[in-house]
């Protein structure tokens, strides 16, 4: 499933610092919950990874060595060593290891360019973690945790319902 256009379109005009602030908050919450997330990267920890959701007007650049995440608006491109492009929900499913990356690649749902070894290392590092976005991000929502987790889980269920390569 792709992000519905009425939801994606406003991101073309929302100020980048606003989007980036929210994304950074989620990123740091994720790292707090999974401090060993980038350990498996080894020498590839110093590389820069771009995520290009093809249903959003944004590009996300992750730099594990810092660690940091930044957001850019398309068509400006991130100076990344490796980049992966696909629908946002599939990229998030990959983050959780909920979809098989090779199967998505075979099906052409994902495109990978640049340093393949670095991207493979990142895929394996993410797959080795037990990231659960609704649970992990909900944990940072204080008293709203149950509501955030439930809502995020419902969105995920719906987004991945039609994906034949998704797992439970």
């Amino acid at each position: 499933m792709e992000v519905p256009r009425p939801l994606a379109a406003p991101l073309a005009v929302v100020p980048i610092p606003l989007v980036e602030g929210a994304v950074k908050l989620m990123f740091s919450s994720l790292l707090k919950r999974h401090p060993a997330l980038f350990e498996r990267l080894g020498e590839h920890k110093s590389k820069r990874y771009a995520f290009r959701p093809n249903d959003l007007p944004l590009v996300f650049l992750v730099e594990p060595a810092l660690p940091a995440i930044s957001v850019m608006r398309k068509p400006a491109d991130a100076a990344a060593d490796a980049a992966v492009e696909g629908p946002l929900f599939l990229l998030l499913a990959l983050l959780e290891g909920r979809c098989d990356a090779d199967a998505l690649f075979f099906s052409r749902a994902l495109t990978v360019i640049g340093d393949m070894e670095a991207m493979l290392a990142l895929r394996n590092a993410l797959d080795g973690c037990e990231i659960d976005l609704p649970r992990d991000l909900g944990g940072a929502a204080g008293p709203f945790a149950p509501l955030v987790s439930r809502t995020a889980a419902a969105i995920r269920r719906r987004a991945l319902a039609g994906e034949t390569v998704a797992w439970n």
Partner: protein
């Protein structure tokens, strides 16, 4: 028959155990195993924890030390064997005769399996490994028909394990030099076939072009399912024809031959895919577990879904039902 399942990370390992594996095979994070990919495999501590987890659930752990030792650097493999034994591996999967000799001498009680990388596929070869090193099981190369396997089983004194699902290597494993030819690195010596460091993908219009080293491997039109960038799955121009010279980008699936394999004398069915993610492991292991326990007429329906997880989104029975010479 046992179901032998792959794991490249501790989370995939737990998924395999929970999904019904009888045994999980895995390796250390170095060149001692034939899936030495970045970010993959286990530290000593992780493997110790994994083995404890498997034991609690009644699942065995096999540790693959199935590359060939480099002269002068044998200690890397010897230390890996010592650690695998110390951590409580139920079996070591070995390819190098020198390492088999070392394990047989140093750890005579340790169960030893012959890796597919040893390419032992006839009674003389298997019997030598049984007699010389006490091998208890041989993993057969994917080059034999089911009749070949049945004939072999009658002439050897160890268990037989065969690949039934996953990536299909069409060469005699352990002897293939295509990756070395293109990149200087091989699964046999470095644990990597067509290493990611030498792979490049680029978009050319709607086509996806895959390159390995300085070779263009394939060009996939917009709506065609893609495959791995290995030379054996490459599309070649030969005379006036253009096509796959060695093998199409497809995966192995002979789960519809379970009963024939059992009758042929096979003890264990192996799933390829330590390099695949936990989602793949969970899905494939649980489905094959169900298929193994299901009546024959119900198996196809269970297995159909797995095709989408396969290379090229197609499967083949490969040499098991060889119709060519």
């Amino acid at each position: 028959m046992e179901l032998i399942c792959p794991a490249g990370t501790p989370t995939a390992f737990r998924e395999a155990v929970d999904a019904g594996a009888d045994a999980v095979y895995c390796g250390f994070r170095d060149e001692t195993n034939a899936r030495n990919f970045p970010g993959l495999n286990f530290s000593r501590e992780e493997l110790g924890d994994a083995i404890s987890y498997a034991r609690r659930k009644g699942t065995q752990t096999f540790i693959a030390l199935n590359t060939f030792m480099r002269a002068g650097h044998e200690s890397l493999w010897y230390e890996a064997a010592a650690d695998a034994v110390r951590l409580g591996a139920d079996a070591l999967i070995l390819a190098d005769f020198g390492l088999m000799a070392h394990v047989a001498e140093a750890y005579p009680e340790q169960r030893l399996h012959v890796s597919v990388q040893a390419s032992a596929s006839n009674p003389d070869a298997v019997s030598f490994l049984v007699d010389a090193f006490g091998a208890r099981r041989v993993v057969l190369p994917r080059t034999l028909t089911i009749s070949d396997i049945a004939r072999l089983a009658r002439q050897i004194r160890c268990e037989i394990e065969v690949f039934v699902f996953g990536g299909l290597c069409v060469m005699a494993e352990g002897r293939c030099s295509l990756s070395s030819y293109a990149t200087g690195k091989s699964p046999n010596m470095n644990g990597v076939c067509s290493p990611a460091s030498h792979v490049r993908y680029r978009q050319d219009g709607g086509d996806l072009v895959s390159e390995l080293g300085s070779y263009t491997i394939n060009r996939f039109p917009r709506d065609e399912a893609a495959g791995y960038p290995t030379l054996c799955k490459g599309r070649f121009d030969i005379a006036d024809a253009s096509g796959y010279a060695f093998e199409d980008p497809v995966s192995l699936d002979v789960m519809d031959q379970i009963d024939a394999l059992r009758e042929a004398g096979v003890s264990a069915l192996k799933i390829e895919g330590r390099q695949r993610g936990k989602a793949y492991v969970a899905e494939v292991v649980s489905t094959l577990r169900k298929a193994l326990d299901a009546r024959p007429e119900h198996r196809q329906a269970l297995l159909a879904r797995l095709r989408l997880l396969s290379e090229g989104q197609r499967t083949t029975s490969g040499a098991y039902e060889k119709r060519w010479r």
